[in-house]
């Protein structure tokens, strides 16, 4: 049932569905991915906005302090109390310091682990620190914001790790001379927490332009510039990948089994472009942050799962549906083919029956022909008897009557020879009839392979005298065939009669011959016997030639038996004979033999 044509048909209809569904579902997957990317991009934008807002507050805070009338050499207690209060209130404040123009701390508030604010007496020289260097040239209305890094005290990273950044604003005296700067340290922990991804689909990473990782799902890889940590090789690779990714433009990149999205943020530029009026504050900061979001393939796959599952279900459904349809169709076709086969079988049966009928019909026809022939022979026989026997008997009756009435010896002498004549004729007739009846009666005539050459030669010997006298020459043209299945006795009789006739009816005006020529027409063997004798007028005698006691030449002896017997003998073995002749132009007999002389069913009348 599942032949190759079925499979081909199935594939032909299934493969397009398969391709289309895969293309369609891939499109869906792509759309889904795009959507996820879009969501992530929005999230990243939100993060930068969040940061922007945060820094705006920070800037406002530090500017507030810088705009206070501060004399670094002589801080009044109200200012100090205010500062302490602020530090206590705002979690994010870590340190509050005032540096002189040389970068030396002149005032400092610390927060201890219990969030308690102390006025530090341990003032340090920060002139070497990068943030002092980067901020010492600040002008009025300018605020410096440092990078985020781990807090260091006395040149050592504070532990537990404390990510911080510093904001610095210049301070001026009443004469508008720059006298130092306010430095506020912010704890970045809360900010970084806020910047962490809230989405379960993605992981956020932030790097800065100092090749530091500020925020990462794995905290071990953050602030590597300051830490003395030992990382695994994969972490190192990952870190360097991250850094290199962050150098690029805002983009989305497929890497490490997921999609990376990155967004760059120049803190100062962003802020300054938004606050560009004359009296607004300008941020000075070297910091550029890169937000990166990683959406792992596993997450994406989770989104794609329904599509893939839907596709699978659809394909299975189509598979089963198509298979069912094709099987149903196949069954229908099979049924049809069976039906056609049955029709064809019955058709073959009918044809065979018809052929058998035809054969039977042919046999019947042949039989019918044979019967007609026999019937004709019987009628002929009847006629011959009635004509040739009735007359003499009547004559005998009349003669005997006459004899009984006769009175004189003369009358006796006249009548008795007549009687003798009749009896002679009757006995001759009976002799002839017997020959004929013998032919008619033989239902199964013994046939053998008859050598025509031999029969002709033997027959010619009987007429040696005539032949030797060159009266008639016997010519044989038996190249095509010279043997056939026939009765040898009949054949001899026929050939003898033919030679006898040709001698009898030869022409005295020319050299005579009798010619035997064999050939075949279709499957039938044909023997042509011709001479150049006196011939016969067929217009006069055409229908009489083969009849008994028919004579056509007064001056030549003969009783009209030969051709009659020849025809009877031929017909007894399903052969036929025709004649063609013109007076004084010779005669030609054509004998057509049947392939199987004793089987009437093979006999097809020669026309």
């Amino acid at each position: 049932m599942m032949n190759s044509r079925t499979i081909a048909r199935f594939l032909l209809s299934y493969v397009p569905i398969l391709i289309i569904s895969i293309i369609w579902s891939n499109q869906q997957i792509q759309n889904q991915t795009d959507r996820v990317i879009e969501i992530e991009k929005t999230q990243l934008n939100n993060k930068t906005n969040l940061l922007q807002d945060y820094y705006t507050q920070v800037v406002a805070g530090v500017h507030f302090w810088s705009s206070m009338p501060i004399n670094p050499k002589e801080l009044d207690s109200a200012f100090i109390n205010n500062a302490i209060e602020y530090l206590e209130v705002y979690d994010a404040y870590d340190q509050f310091r005032i540096l002189d123009l040389n970068g030396v701390e002149v005032f400092r508030l610390d927060k201890d682990n219990n969030n308690k604010v102390n006025i530090s007496t341990d003032l340090q020289d920060k002139s070497d620190r990068y943030y002092f260097q980067e901020s010492k040239n600040l002008n009025d209305h300018e605020v410096y914001i440092s990078k985020i890094d781990l807090n260091e005290e006395y040149g050592k990273v504070e532990y537990p790790h404390q990510p911080v950044f510093r904001t610095i604003a210049p301070i001026y005296d009443s004469d508008n001379n720059k006298i130092g700067s306010v430095v506020v340290n912010y704890k970045a922990t809360k900010l970084l927490n806020a910047l962490k991804s809230k989405s379960e689909h993605s992981k956020h990473t932030i790097t800065d332009n100092f090749n530091n990782i500020i925020l990462a799902p794995n905290a071990d890889i953050t602030f590597l510039n300051q830490k003395d940590s030992s990382l695994t090789e994969s972490d190192i690779q990952y870190t360097s990948d991250l850094i290199s990714l962050s150098k690029g433009t805002d983009t989305s990149v497929v890497k490490n089994n997921g999609i990376w999205l990155s967004k760059h943020n120049n803190l100062a530029d962003d802020y300054n472009s938004k606050n560009s009026s004359a009296d607004s504050i300008t941020i000075v900061s070297p910091v550029q942050l890169t937000y990166m979001s990683f959406i792992p393939n596993a997450t994406l796959n989770k989104f794609h799962e329904p599509i893939v599952e839907g596709r699978l279900v659809f394909l299975i459904f189509c598979f089963i549906l198509l298979l069912t349809l094709i099987i149903i169709n196949n069954k229908r076709v099979e049924a049809k083919v069976n039906h056609i086969n049955q029709l064809r079988d019955s058709n073959i049966g009918l044809r065979e029956a018809s052929k058998q009928l035809e054969n039977k019909h042919k046999k019947l026809e042949a039989l019918n022909y044979q019967l007609t022939l026999k019937n004709g022979q019987l009628r002929e026989f009847n006629y011959l008897i009635s004509h040739n026997l009735k007359a003499p008997i009547t004559s005998v009756t009349n003669l005997t009557e006459m004899l009984m009435e006769s009175e004189t010896v003369e009358e006796y002498q006249l009548l008795v020879p007549k009687l003798k004549k009749i009896t002679d004729r009757v006995s001759e007739l009976i002799e002839d009839m017997l020959q004929y009846v013998r032919i008619l009666n033989s239902t199964q005539i013994e046939t053998t392979q008859v050598d025509l050459n031999e029969v002709i030669d033997q027959s010619a010997e009987l007429f040696l005298e005539s032949i030797d006298n060159q009266d008639v020459k016997v010519i044989k043209e038996l190249e095509e065939w010279n043997e056939l299945e026939f009765s040898e006795h009949f054949m001899k009789s026929i050939i003898q009669n033919m030679i006898s006739n040709s001698i009898k009816y030869r022409s005295t005006e020319r050299e005579s011959f009798i010619k035997f020529k064999s050939y075949t027409r279709g499957t039938k063997k044909i023997l042509e016997i011709s001479d150049n004798g006196i011939g016969i007028d067929l217009k006069k005698h055409g229908d009489q030639v083969f009849k008994l006691y028919k004579r056509f030449h007064r001056d030549i002896s003969g009783k009209g038996l030969g051709l009659f017997l020849i025809k009877s003998q031929l017909e007894a073995l399903s052969a036929s004979i025709t004649i063609d002749s013109k007076p004084n132009r010779g005669i030609k007999f054509t004998i057509t033999f049947n392939t199987n002389p004793n089987d009437a069913s093979y006999y097809i009348p020669f026309d």
Binding site: H387, S395, Y549
Partner: protein
């Protein structure tokens, strides 16, 4: 003395010719009988007389089955030789053939006056003879 009635007997049966002649002679002494052993000999006679009507017989008794020229052949040739001959000669077929095709053929010849199947009996011949004599008398 009335003219002798002339018979032509055409038959290949020699004995039949003898017997029939004897019977006819017995019926009337005033008959003239001429016999022919086949149609060809008979037609040769008619060719020979060259239309001399005194040599025509009154009556022909014609056999059908004969060598050289049979009864039908004789009739055909006689017809072409002398059209309307039936008005001058009464021709009867006398044959041993009672075959239907011969009988059927006989009806196609207007020249025929009758058809007898052998053996023809003495009284039949007598009737025949009388008819001829009577008709001859009338015509005279």
């Amino acid at each position: 003395m009335t003219r002798a009635t002339t018979f032509h007997l055409i038959d290949d049966d020699e004995v039949y010719l003898f017997i029939t002649s004897k019977i006819l002679e017995a019926i009337s002494p005033n008959v003239k009988i001429q016999t022919f052993q086949d149609g060809e000999l008979a037609i040769n006679y008619f060719k020979g007389i060259e239309g001399n009507s005194s040599d025509f017989p009154d009556i022909i008794l014609l056999d059908l089955n004969m060598p050289f020229l049979d009864g039908w052949g004789f009739l055909k040739e006689l017809k072409t030789l002398y059209p309307g001959i039936e008005k001058r000669i009464k021709i009867y077929v006398v044959t041993s053939s009672d075959r239907e095709d011969d009988l059927g053929l006989a009806t196609e010849f207007n020249e025929l006056s009758g058809y007898y199947v052998k053996p023809i009996k003495k009284d039949e011949l007598e009737t025949l003879f009388r008819e001829i004599v009577d008709s001859n008398l009338e015509s005279n």
